[in-house]
Subunit: 311 residues, 2 copies
């Protein structure tokens, strides 16, 4: 029995996970960036204790507490940097242990989701995998020999900020041409908006109520499914970029499985099928057995289950 905590921008999900990796009790509290760190941790700990209590479990029977954060953390349970929460070099384990004295582990949320899929999800049973979550940005987590590889200094696993297009599109990180500028929902939206400027008569723009700022990834995919040529062109460009990103992961890391998650993965086989067809042409040894590409299956549960599995 373990506790998993998923710290997100709007809410903090807490779950009690049994040894079959099922969530048997859960609750959430709102994320309060206006609140100081120690008070927020006190509320998280109260939520943890209430989740345990409502499951009718003895708090002593819980083995450990794991936390996934949109940031980086050290092995000692210090949160080094979690910009969205305003947390920098804060001692999560130490403060949390004032309220509930258990081993506490903290890691990046994409690493946590990668671990969840590799123990209880689509990559269960594999020893190596790379999880790529495609949303506003690109998150990623690397599993090698069944363990999260977050790098020697805890700053690895950031596929979204690998250089993908020299001197390319400016990125929020300050660089140019980062991979996430081409392979995220944000990229689909940018390409869609650019396309309707040139083609104001497209179905894509009509589906967006003739307002380019309404265009999102789902609308682009919907218009492409309806064979709108403007949306189909954006869709093909995006698949081409993602295929090159996936092939780059194969050429460098070559995991057993590459798992695609995040909001954009909801496009399902409409995303997966062309991706599986296209990525091998960018792989150096494309005549060899290649990693399988699969869609994530755990969805929002990944954050709690993966966090609970941290050790």
């Amino acid at each position: 029995m373990r506790i998993g905590i998923d710290v997100g921008g709007t809410g903090i999900q807490v779950g009690l996970v049994n040894n079959d990796l099922q969530i048997i009790s859960e609750a959430s509290i709102p994320t309060r960036t206006d609140m100081d760190f120690e008070e927020q941790v006190r509320q998280i700990a109260a939520c943890v204790l209430s989740v345990i209590s409502s499951a009718g479990i003895d708090p002593d029977a819980v083995e450990s507490v794991g936390v996934g954060i949109p940031g980086i953390a050290s092995d000692s349970g210090e949160i080094i940097k979690c910009t969205n929460m305003g947390w920098h070099h804060v001692l999560f384990r130490e403060v949390f242990n004032r309220y509930y004295n258990k081993p506490v582990f903290v890691d990046n949320d994409a690493n946590v989701a990668a671990l969840a899929e590799s123990v209880a999800g689509v990559s269960a049973g594999t020893s190596s995998s790379v999880f790529i979550t495609i949303g506003t940005g690109i998150g990623s987590g690397i599993i090698i020999d069944g363990k999260i590889w977050k790098g020697c200094h805890g700053i690895g696993g950031e596929l979204g900020h690998v250089i993908f297009d020299l001197d390319g599109v400016p990125c929020s990180c300050g660089n140019h041409g980062c991979l996430e500028r081409y392979c995220s929902a944000t990229a689909i939206i940018r390409m869609g908006r650019e396309a309707v400027k040139i083609h104001p008569d497209s179905l894509l723009l009509r589906l967006a109520d003739n307002n380019p700022s309404n265009i999102n990834a789902k609308i682009v995919f919907d218009a492409a499914r309806q064979e709108d040529p403007v949306a189909v062109e954006v869709y093909h460009r995006f698949i081409g970029y993602l295929a090159q990103a996936v092939a780059s992961v194969v050429n460098l890391i070559d995991p057993e499985v590459i798992v695609i998650g995040g909001g954009v993965s909801k496009a399902g086989t409409f995303l997966l099928k062309p991706l599986i067809r296209e990525f091998p042409r960018y792989v150096l040894f494309d005549d060899q057995p290649l990693p399988e590409i699969k869609l994530a299956v755990l969805g929002s549960e990944a954050g709690i289950i993966g966090a609970a599995m941290l050790s």
Copy 2:
């Protein structure tokens, strides 16, 4: 006591390596791509036995035989693909064992060099490192938890073929914009030749005897040291590209050390100092402790020592 074999395009080096990781006896034979595989292996085995004999060692006292090849191999000692040698799906271990029956391990030469540096070279004592060899192309090897990570299907560790510039310079692999098109000696030469077309009055062209096809990486670096503005511009561009490549490795893998080897690394601190200064600006978490960047120290011995360490 182990045997290490370094298979190269012009010669095959064989060395006997003692438990202090020193080469105590060595010899070489020419690479004969005109010869069939079985005959070439027979000659390699004969060279191995003569190296052992000339060291006055009992052949039974040798623990294992390791081979580094410019290609990929399976854990079972099969060479899957070694294009330069014309070897495809050949059973190296099986044929070699006809002449000398010892455990045989085969791996990619960049992986072997990475292992050599991590046990007996500049990254000795570290548990994770990435070795980048900069020559005609870019080779690389990843060490995680003290072991070569060559991927689940043996096709990883190919940093040179990660997409670095979408739709960029055509690569010999058939793709466009591969990293090695920007970070290799070949890239320096290309940029140098392009630059002297525009600046035929440059020192760079004079050092090449006024013939652009004489330009090589060393001449570009020599002209840059002498502050030829044309060569300095090429040199800065190259350092900028390499800094982005190194930062991409940090963002994704974050090893303890990144080791730079290969012909271009002979530029020494003239390459290393600006690289160390520039790469952090492309690292996402650049305010954290970062990997050390170091020059390889083993040189041509890496191939034999690393191969001997395979297991």
